[in-house]
């Protein structure tokens, strides 16, 4: 302690000088004139340069901490990107549906697919719209791209529809270009086939197939698919393979058209068939 006192006594002149200089600098930097502003700018610039030089020296512990933080941030950002992508895709889908809603004159109910089967011979989809939403049996199920199927069973809040890949589906269709009629059905394997097409019929790959006005179940003019392959079925008929307009693998939302078969027409046709 005594030694410290002696050291202080030895240095008292310099201590006093330092204190007085500090006071002077305090007064100087209390001013707000152009010189002090300039000196402040220089001081900040110098301090920044020194500090940036020091930060170049790696600190292992800080780097570990920073890495951990960055990894966590990375995970969070990756999740956010994933959510944003999902939102973007949903936005695209919903925009298409909205455009479809505006373009289509028929009233309809929109629904989300909550379940679907694609690998059986009688494939169906379950939709989260039912009788409470005025969905009834035999109503057509469509998407922006075209025909998807037909309602075959309804509950209060859900309904089940046969899709085109169902052996029970029979749809009267026609070629948009040549107006050639045929019956669309699923062969139970992987193809949609247009039957009852004569060998001489003008049907080529790429022709658009739409629903026919002969059908009492579906409104006419709904796109069903395109011709992808034509060949001879037998001596009389052609084998026409159709690729559906709707991609059932990625299908998520559908519209149920509020269109029911004309009862008079159905009764008349049924009674005539019975008479025969």
């Amino acid at each position: 302690m005594k030694r410290i006192g002696l050291v202080i006594l030895d240095l008292k002149e310099y201590i006093i000088l330092t204190v007085l200089i500090i006071f002077s600098l305090y007064f100087i930097f209390s001013n707000d004139n152009s010189q002090i502003r300039f000196l402040r700018a220089v001081a900040i610039g110098t301090f920044g340069t020194v500090q940036s030089g020091l930060t170049a020296i790696p600190n292992v512990f800080e780097l570990q901490q920073e890495n951990k933080l960055l990894r966590e941030t990375n995970i969070k950002l990756a999740n956010e990107i994933s959510n944003l992508k999902e939102s973007k895709l949903e936005n695209i889908r919903l925009t298409k549906l909205l455009n479809f809603r505006e373009e289509n004159k028929l009233s309809f109910v929109s629904g989300r697919i909550v379940n679907k089967s694609l690998v059986q011979t009688r494939n169906t989809i379950t939709i989260n719209a039912g009788e409470a939403d005025s969905v009834f049996i035999n109503m057509p199920v469509v998407t922006v791209e075209g025909l998807a199927g037909r309602i075959v069973s309804t509950g209060r809040n859900y309904s089940i529809a046969n899709i085109l890949y169902n052996k029970d589906m029979r749809i009267t269709v026609k070629s948009q270009r040549t107006r050639i009629d045929g019956i669309l059905m699923y062969d139970g394997l992987q193809n949609l086939i247009m039957t009852n097409v004569l060998k001489s019929a003008d049907l080529t790959a790429g022709d658009l197939i739409i629903t026919s006005e002969y059908s009492n179940l579906f409104p006419p003019g709904i796109p069903v698919g395109t011709v992808t392959e034509t060949g001879n079925l037998d001596n009389l008929f052609k084998k026409v393979v159709i690729t559906p307009a709707v991609n059932f693998q990625t299908l998520e939302e559908v519209f149920i058209l509020k269109h029911l078969p004309d009862k008079d027409r159905a009764d008349l046709e049924n009674s005539y068939q019975k008479k025969k």
């Binding site: 002149e13 006093i16 007085l20 200089i21 007064f27 100087i28 001013n31 010189q35 300039f38 000196l39």
Partner: protein
């Protein structure tokens, strides 16, 4: 020493008043270069009393001048503190540096330091270059102050006077 505690502040106050009132009469050129008579007194005190006396009296004299001038408070305080402290290095037995031309040398050195600090900081952020500041202000002011300090050489010292009376 007690007498000095009263004497120095009175002398400094008188010189500060003189510096602020009449010194502009002998200003040189349009750059308004004036001698610093307060600094001469601070240097004298530094040589006479040492580093502490020089720096403390320098600080308060400078601060008072700063306050009276009203701009850049603390700048003269800093310059005078350092000058007074440096002058304290020339404190010797028999006040060798207060005699004859030694005092002029010390005054020139301390004035250079003081002017360098003052004008060096004052010219920051202005368009005046370093060489201009040194030539036009620092050397000129220091030289002028040194020349004026020659007055001290003609003031007869107590010892000389006593010797004169006894002879």
């Amino acid at each position: 020493m007690r007498f000095n505690i009263i004497k120095y502040p009175i002398i400094l106050l008188a010189l500060i008043l003189l510096q602020k009132s009449f010194i502009s009469v002998i200003a040189l050129s349009k750059l308004n270069i004036t001698p610093d008579i307060v600094l001469i007194a601070v240097i004298y005190i530094g040589i006479k009393e040492g580093k502490i006396g020089g720096s403390v009296y320098g600080f308060f004299a400078g601060l008072l001048l700063d306050i009276l001038s009203g701009s850049f408070v603390g700048l003269l305080a800093l310059a005078y503190t350092v000058s007074g402290f440096v002058a304290g290095f020339f404190k010797t037995e028999g006040d060798r540096f207060l005699s004859k031309y030694n005092f002029l040398l010390v005054t020139f050195i301390c004035s250079l330091i003081s002017c360098f600090l003052y004008y060096g900081l004052y010219s920051q952020g202005t368009s005046t270059g370093f060489a201009d500041v040194m030539l036009l202000y620092v050397f000129t002011s220091a030289t002028y102050t040194t020349l004026i300090s020659m007055v001290i050489l003609v003031i007869p010292k107590r010892k000389t006077l006593e010797r004169g009376f006894t002879d």
